[in-house]
Amino acid sequence: MAATIVNPENLVYSRPKGFTDMPSHYCPGCTHGTAQRLVAEVLEEMNILDKSIGVAPVGCAVFAYNYIDIDFVEAAHGRAPAMATGIKRVLPDRVVFSYQGDGDLASIGMAETVHAAARGENITIIFINNAIYGMTGGQMAPTTLPGMKTTSSPNGRDVETQGYPIRVSEMLATLDGAGYIVRRSLHDPKNIRLAKKAIRLAFETQVHGLGFSMVELLSTCSTGWGMTPVESLAWLEEHMIPAFPLGDYKIASSVAALKI
């Protein structure tokens, strides 16, 4: 059967052009790969691969520069929005985005993130929220859920001493400079399609000069969580979505008027 079907005219889907040939270093089932693939597909569809500049953070997300086939720079820990600000101001015709995890964006980089949004910098942030520090060994992050066990909160996050998780999208949505702030999830096919549409609209926001845009993507860290990839997706749906509700937190009227 395969021999008759496998020919170019029957091709439905193949690895996007915006992806390099390099196999990713991510653990099996890590949704970083899904998120980066969506970014590559969107940049390819918008035909802006050759004028996009990515800013890589610190953490597992950093290796996006090896996988998305565009120009990339690497920022110090948490400083990606500041670096993206500088690049966008010097090269305003380029599409500049940062791709950051929650440890990078919501902890050490919180100031840069909030002020970039407050200034209404015309950049895009793809924010991967998996409620844990992945690369360093599964420590507690600012987004770790109350009671969630990590290597640095082995008895579960105690809100009495360690506080509550930060909801970044809700917070940034209160700022006037923000044009497009939404939260999506990568746990099932429907939500992956919705995430891709959101990433597209975030980049369109930037291309049309309508202000700061951010897409928060709920993701998994099966190694850090100590689960199989399939169990991780179920855990995300059951525990993370109630704590981090999906939705549109800020869509400026000028963004809503965009026709894609």
């Binding site: 079907i5 029957n10 439905v12 889907y13 193949s14 690895r15 990713s24 089932g29 970083h32 199989t228």
Partner: protein, 84 residues
């Protein structure tokens, strides 16, 4: 009759995470325990007929390892003349 599809899994990228297996609507995917990739994983493969070429496996694949083909639907007259 549902559309006929086929997928090819690239052994260079597949890490046997099983996300495609759990997402596949007709449940025609499993890990190929007869095969090991260069990274040491059992890659995913089609083990029975029924693939419709819906590309949901490729949508959920974190490593973009899957290429999807779907037979172009022909007019009813020529479909009857088609082989297996």
């Amino acid at each position: 009759m549902p559309a006929k599809g086929w997928i090819e899994v690239n052994d260079l990228y597949c890490k046997g995470c099983e996300l495609c297996i759990s997402a596949c609507p007709p449940k025609v995917l499993e890990l190929d325990n007869e095969k090991l990739t260069s990274k040491g994983y059992h890659p995913s493969h089609i083990f029975k007929d029924g693939c419709t070429g819906c590309a949901i496996c490729a949508l959920v694949c974190p490593d973009a390892a899957i290429t999807v083909y779907r037979e172009v639907t022909k007019a009813p007259a020529s479909a009857a003349a088609g082989g297996d």
